[in-house]
Amino acid sequence: MSEHQAHEAHEEHTTHSQGFYLLIGAILLVLTATTVGAAFVNLGPFNPVVALLIATIKALLVVLFFMHVKGASEKLTGVVVLSGFFFLAILLALSLADYLTRSWR
């Protein structure tokens, strides 16, 4: 009986409706158009910031909804994804710690 309960607890009922997925897809397309449009506007040093921000929102939508991380039966999935990006961030940040502080060009 406990086995049956365990069975139930691990089932993931995260499938959304077709309409929901099409909506997310549409949002992603709109965000793509936005990022292209924003590139043509002179935002000074904020151009790359905006571009990366939009890219990250798009990536989050894919991860959370298309890859079913939101509503996953355990937090482990989220931890795994986050750790991947976290250690990539370490690589980038600590390398930059060298490059940005070199006194010669």
Partner: protein, 552 residues
Amino acid sequence: MASNAATTIIPAPAPKLNYLNNGHTLKSWLLTTDHKRIALLYLLSVTAFFFLGGFFAMLIRLELLTPEGDLLQADTYNKVFTMHGMIMVFFFLIPVVPATLGNFLVPLMVGAKDLAFPRINLLSWYLYIIAGTLFLHCMLNGGVDTGWTFYTPYSTVGSNTNVIEAGLAVFIAGFSSIFTGLNFIVTVHRMRAPGLTWDRLPLFIWANYATSLIMILGTPVVAITIVLVAVERAFHLGIFDPRLGGDPLLFQHLFWFYSHPAVYIMILPSMGVISELIACFARKRVFGYKFVALSSVAIAVLGFLVWAHHMFVAGISLYAAMIFSFITFFIGVPSAVKVFNWTATLYKGSITYATPMLYAFGFIGLFTIGGLTGLMLATLGIDVHVTDTYFVVAHFHYVMVGGVLMGFLGGIHFWWPKISGRLYPEGWARLSALLVFVGFNLTFFPQFILGYVGMPRRYWQYPPEFQVLNVLSTAGSSVLAVGYLLPMIYLLWSLRYGPIASDNPWGAAGLEWKTTSPPPTFNFDETPVVTWEAYNYDEIPEPKELEAPVAK
């Protein structure tokens, strides 16, 4: 039934079916998905590469007997130390404990029938073999002379040896490693026996789990780095080429981002072995279990933050050097936590000195020396003087050989009865352990001094005043070699003539000792249900004969 004892022969009982006799064909071994058989396949392969790497070490030590470069030409010497390094790092040290002891024991220790992905486990071994074959081909084709570190621009532009082939071999071996790590993580998360919560896991599992995290996160970066070197070399793309505005140091950043955590891939599983050995031969729960478990994970995480301590004099900014030096000091802490906890475990323990325990003691002493000298190297002021000298060489051999290898040997002896169903000869084993210890220190301690007084590494000739220490080092290496050869002989001998081992000859804790020696193919006749804490030595009776008897 026998009615007349004088004339009726009672047949001997058939040997119980276990993983070793369950199928005798070559196919049943080469297409096995049994993690125990795969562990043995790995054991054979890594041992072969160990002796190949040792052969190159012998060439190095022979050349360094005399100050002049008289045994080998300079170019050849470059190839020899490169081969020694690449073989030992990528084909021995990284897989040795996880792929042999880890593969064998992880499912047993968690009470599972096999790893999560047995076919991927087999694939992992085949990738290792393909990588090894490719590397051997590269070697026979003239080898490679860049040093195991592949530094640019020499590897991309300067060298005219088989860099791409060697790089490809390392790339493939990297995937072998990744798949092992992936298998371990999923197994520990998903396949623990009922009742086996995380805080009841053996510390060997915690250690291999932390190691697997590093394998997953770090190996891909060196993979792409090798691809970039190969692409630059083949297509002249110029990613690290200063003439195009590229930076050779970028290679070093990307390379060491993996290669520093790689050394923790090497040491962590060995530390896991030591935890098991200390607990068993002090007959006591490891002191501060939670701290030791968490320190494994801490080492894995912190290990990713320190890589540029290999680059202090390479041209990074002083600011970055200070950051990396500072963080490097912290990584000594979890290692020290382990050493202190192992020592505390010994206090009021019921200690016996079987061979595995001798190796464990050796590990603690030698790893401590290696680790302390690591702190010295982390200190910028000292590093400026001793970097790229034999001081560094001695440091890493203390932790790699004095640490990793002694842990491995201790583990092989400890689990030999489980793996083979036989007991090894204790007298010969203790002699070998002693030879390894003495030989090791004689080989590598002089190198600390040599480095301190200025002998550079990777040089094939040196000023005459360094000769005495070099001769001592070479003499030590001969003793060490004997210490390594003896186990080959007596372990193989024991397969045929060693006494039959019981299920638990050491009276040790752990699920692997609750099944037969050797275990059946699917490990347990019944899935165990765990209701006890780890290292419950207060509940386990001492074995009647703790020392394996010398076979007659």
